[in-house]
Symmetry: C2
Subunit: 472 residues, 2 copies
Amino acid sequence: MISPDNCIRNGDDLHYFFEPSSVAVIGSLRMDSGLAFRAISNMLHFGYKGKIYPVNPGYEEVLGLSAYQSVEAVAEPIDQAIVITPPKTVPGIIDQCGNKGVKAVVIVSENFAEIGADGIVLQQHVTEIARSKGIRIVGPNTIGLINSANGFITAPYFIAYDRLPKGNVSYCSQTGFVGPTAQPLFDRGYPINKTCDVGNKCDVNEVDLLNYLANDSTTSAVALHLEDIKDGRAFISAARKLVAKKPLIVMKAGRTLAGGRASASHTGSLAGNDIICDAAFRQAGAIRVNTWQEFWDVPRVFGTQQLPKGNRVGIVTHTGGAGVVATDAAVEAGLVVTNFTDSTLKKLSAFAPRLATNPVDLGPVLSTTDNPFMVQEESVAIAMEDDNVDCVAAATYGGIEGIMEPIVQMFTRLKQRCNKPMAVWIYGMKLSAIEETVRELQKQNIPAYIEFETAVKALSVAAHYAQMRKEM
Amino acid sequence: MISPDNCIRNGDDLHYFFEPSSVAVIGSLRMDSGLAFRAISNMLHFGYKGKIYPVNPGYEEVLGLSAYQSVEAVAEPIDQAIVITPPKTVPGIIDQCGNKGVKAVVIVSENFAEIGADGIVLQQHVTEIARSKGIRIVGPNTIGLINSANGFITAPYFIAYDRLPKGNVSYCSQTGFVGPTAQPLFDRGYPINKTCDVGNKCDVNEVDLLNYLANDSTTSAVALHLEDIKDGRAFISAARKLVAKKPLIVMKAGRTLAGGRASASHTGSLAGNDIICDAAFRQAGAIRVNTWQEFWDVPRVFGTQQLPKGNRVGIVTHTGGAGVVATDAAVEAGLVVTNFTDSTLKKLSAFAPRLATNPVDLGPVLSTTDNPFMVQEESVAIAMEDDNVDCVAAATYGGIEGIMEPIVQMFTRLKQRCNKPMAVWIYGMKLSAIEETVRELQKQNIPAYIEFETAVKALSVAAHYAQMRKEM
C-alpha cells in the first residue's frame, strides 16, 4: 500500500474529477456492451455538456463522436481520463495521460491491490507514474463518480432511469455498491449532489473528499461509507473542518473482525480496530450510522431546512401503534418526546380532546372528519409551532394512487409556514404510490421516509449535529 | 380493565374468528364509503365463500346480498358478527348476537377503553354481556382479522390489491397498523397466513392467539406485536407451548417510558416495565425484534425450509462492499462467518482464485464470465454444500426488468438441490423489479429481502430458534 503521504497532493482540489470540461474515455467501444461505450452513453443520456473523447484504436466514431487512437491523438486539452482497460495496459495509458496534460484519472479497471502481491506492485507502479506526472487518481477498482448538477457520470454499466435525482447530499464510499446500477438512486429519490467510490484509494481517499466537499457550496451534507481509514490524524483534521460547516454521516463497515477480513479481500485495505475508528469519529464530530438504509436516508434531513434548536420532538401520526414505535425510536436515539404547552393542548383539543398529547394520534379523528387534510395540516402546524418542540416527525397516509398532490401541497405549505425541521413518514398499501410521494416531497426539499423509525433517527442525527455545532 | 381471568375462555379455540361458515356484518351499508359495505366488498373480492349477512335496517340489498334488519332477523345460523356501529349501540347488538347464538364477534368500533373512564365502563359492560352469552370478542378498536386461505377479511376500508398474499406466517398485533390498508402486504409479498389486530383486548388477547396458532397446522411461524402483556404467567406458558412447535417473533413496542405512555393513550393498555417483558420473552423462548421491517421480514425465513443445524453462515455476494456489511450484520447477530472447507475452497478456486473465501464476492468474476448465472448458481451451491456451513445468505442482482425468471429458476433449483436454509437479498436500480422478484421468490417459498442486513438477521433468528429447540 502506498500511504497518502507518498501521493501527490495538489492542494485539496478535486475540481477536475467532478467538473471536467473535457473527458477522454478509454476502453471498449463495442456498441451497447463495451464499458467505455456505456460510460459515454450514460454521460450523453444524463446531459453532460463537456467534450467527450472516446479512445480506442479500433474505432473511428461512436455515438456520433469521433474516436481517437490514443489520448495523445486528441488535439484539444483533456481535463480527465476514464480508464477501463486491462490492468497491464494502465501504466502506459497513465504515462500518455501525463504527456497529454490530463489532470485527473478515474481508473475503473480491476485486479490491482485487491488481488494480492502482483496487483499491489502494479498499483504502486501506476501511482508512481501518476505522481511523477502530476496526475490525481480515483481508484483503481472503482465505479467512479457522479455529479448530478452537470450530468457527469463515469459508471460503465447500463442505467435504467431517465434522469439523475438531484439534491444536496454527497455520498462517498469505498465500494461500487453506492453506484447508480446497484442502488435505486432514482426510485428512492435520494438527494444526490455528488457520489464518489474511492475504490482502492491509491491516491484520492476520504481525506481528499472531505477537504473538497467541505468547500463545495452545493453539498450541504456528506455521507461517507468507509472500510478503513488511511491516515487517522489527517481524517480527524479534515473531518473537523468539514463538520464545522456541514454534517458528516459515517457508515464504517468492517466493524467486526470477520467484517474487517472480508474488507481486506475486496479492496486490499485493512480495516482498523473499530474502537479506535469509533473514537476517531467522535473526535472528528462525525455521526455514525450502521445500516445502508440509514446511510442513504438519514442525510435527507439536512441542508434544506434549518437545524433543530434542541432535541425535543413532536410526533404526529395517523395510527397509535406507529406512534408508540416512533416514540421508542425517538427516545432510543436521544430525542425527548416533549410535553406540549398548554396553548398547544388547547388548540389540539379543539379538534378532539384525544389529540391533546404527544404523540398526536390523528387516526380516530381522520376517520370521522369531513376534511382530513385540514385537520392533519393544522395539527402538524400546531405541533411545529409549539415552544417546547424543536422538530416534528409527521406520518401521512400516502399508500394509494391519487392523493400525492394534496400531500405534497400540504407539506410544502407547512414548510413555508413553520420554520422548524420536519421528517415525513409515508405509509400505506401501494409501494409505488409511497415511493412516488417520497420522490415528490424530496423535490420540494421535504425529507420523506418509508420507515417511521428512520424518519425519527434522522431528526435525532440533526439534533445531535446541531448540539455539536454549538459546542465547537 | 377486565383481566383475562374475568373473561370467558371457551377452550383456546378461535375457530369461529378465522373460519366462520357465516358472518353478519353490522354497520353502514352506504355504497363504497360505508364501513360495513366495504368489509363485505373486501370479503367478496378476496374470495370468501361463507354466507354473508349484511345487517342494517335501512337497506334491503347490498352487493347482491339480502340485507337484514338485525342479526335476529337472519333465519340461518351465524358463526361470527362484525360490529362497526357507534359505541353506544354495541351492548344491544352483542345482546342480540347472544340471542342469535353467534359464537364470535369482532368489534371494530372505536371509543372504548382507549378514550378513558366512560369508554372503560362501556367496554366492561359489553364484555360482561358477551361473557354471559358465551360470545368471544376480538376488539373493540380493531381492524380485525385476515385468513388468507379462505379470503376472510374484516377490514372495513378500501384495499387496492387484487389478491391477498398467501404464506405460512401469522402476524398478530395490538394495532391496526398491521392491516391491509396500512401495510403493503401484497407489494412486499409477505407470507400471510392469518393476521389479527387484538385492539383493546377486552376478551381475546395474545394468550388466546398463541394457544390457537400453536395448534394451527397452516401457521409455521408467529410474529407478534405487543404493547402490553395482560397476564405474564399465562403468556409465558402459552408461548413456551407454541415455541416447542414453531418460532415466535415478538416486537414489543412501548419499550421506553415515553413509548409506554403513548401506548396507554391509544389502546388503554399499560405497557409493562420493559426489563420484565424482556425477561418474560426470554423465559418464553420468544425472539425479539425491534423494528417494523424485522417484524414483517424476519419470519419469512421459517416454515418452508429446514432449520439450520448451527450458526455458521456462508455469504455469497456480487459486491465486496455489501459482503462486508453482511459480515458485520451476521457477526453482530450471533452468526459465525465460517471458514469454508478445503474442498469448497478448491471448487471455488476453479472459477477464480479470488472466490475462495467467505464471504464470496462474485462481482469481479460475474463481470467477465459469459455465463454469470451458472457461476452464481454453482458458487451458491458449493457454499451451501460445505460441511462447515449451516445456512447461506446470497445476494443477487435483480434490479432491472427481464431477469426475474432466471433468478427465480436458479434459486428454485438451489432449494431443491441443497437441503439447507437460505435467505436471498435482491438489489439493484429498479425498485419495481426488486419488489416483483421478492414476491416471485416468496411464491416459491424462498425468503427474499430488500436489505442484506435483514436477510442475515433472519438467518440468525432461525439459528437461534433451532438452538433453543434443541435445548427445550
